[in-house]
Amino acid sequence: MPVYSHLTHTLGAAGGPSTILLKVLQDYDRQLPLDFVAMILGRTRSEIEQEVEGLERQGVAKRLGHEVTLVR
């Protein structure tokens, strides 16, 4: 996690967890492993999974196995 701590800092004051997750997905603009997202945001995988579920309900993101991507 220390390698990505600058990202955690960058996103720390960006908004709520879903807003931050959306920003990560937009910035990388590709399918991302859930573990990777959890690592760069300094959260647990289950926390990220909950956020992904919320974004899925809103039609923003889509979970594909162990990965997540934006809905185009």
Partner: protein, 206 residues
């Protein structure tokens, strides 16, 4: 002495302005008004870059005067233009790294950035915590005037600007849905929409 010191001071002032504005506009664009009032670390951060720029400006002036180094480019023969150029570029220049050394899970940059690592991470962490504390104090006071969580959530979601991209609106709505307290809703609103919108949606009551 004064002839070389004055441009170096200009370099320092430019570096202070650049580092301050870069940090606030990239990381805290909507809560900068709170940080500017409450965070001493923010000013120490900017002053550190200002001091480094001042030293670089003095050294550059000395070396160019002695002919040790030569600078070529538009306007660089003027000490004032050089000072502005130093102020604008010193922060980016200090983040140059030659390679990383990994010690366990830690990665330590080696290069000019090693110097930055002496002060920047600790100051950035302090600024982050200062921002949290300031935002929490600001929203706690406002939240006392709006006790109903359901009403606050409904109002926050109804007032999301329709001009924002739909994905951002949906993500913000999800944050609001998952909030467990009025303070949390206010914090999300402040960070996402800014103070003007927070005042519009949840005006301070007299």
């Amino acid at each position: 002495m004064l002839r070389s010191f004055a441009p170096a001071v200009v370099a320092g002032l430019v570096a202070i302005a650049v580092s301050l504005s870069e940090l606030l506009t990239t990381l805290y664009p909507r809560t900068a008004f709170l940080l500017l009032r409450r965070s001493r670390a923010l000013y120490v951060y900017a002053a550190a870059y200002g001091l480094i720029a001042l030293v670089v400006g003095l050294l550059l002036d000395r070396f160019t005067a002695s002919g040790t180094i030569q600078l070529e480019g538009f306007g660089l023969s003027s000490p004032w233009i050089r000072a502005v150029a130093v102020g604008l570029t010193v922060k980016a220049f200090l983040h140059l790294r030659l390679f990383n050394v990994s010690v366990g899970s830690q990665s330590v940059p080696v290069g000019l950035e090693t110097l930055v690592q002496l002060f920047e991470p600790a100051l950035l962490r302090t600024i982050l915590l200062d921002e949290f504390t300031a935002v929490r104090a600001f929203t706690t006071a406002r939240a006392r005037e709006y006790p109903s969580l359901d009403a606050v959530k409904a109002r926050a979601k109804a007032e999301i600007p329709p001009t924002l991209p739909s994905q951002e609106r949906a993500a913000f709505a999800n944050d609001i849905d998952r909030a467990t307290g009025v303070i949390e809703v206010m914090e999300h609103s402040l960070r996402f929409l800014g103070r003007t919108n927070l005042d519009r949606v949840f005006p301070a009551k007299p």
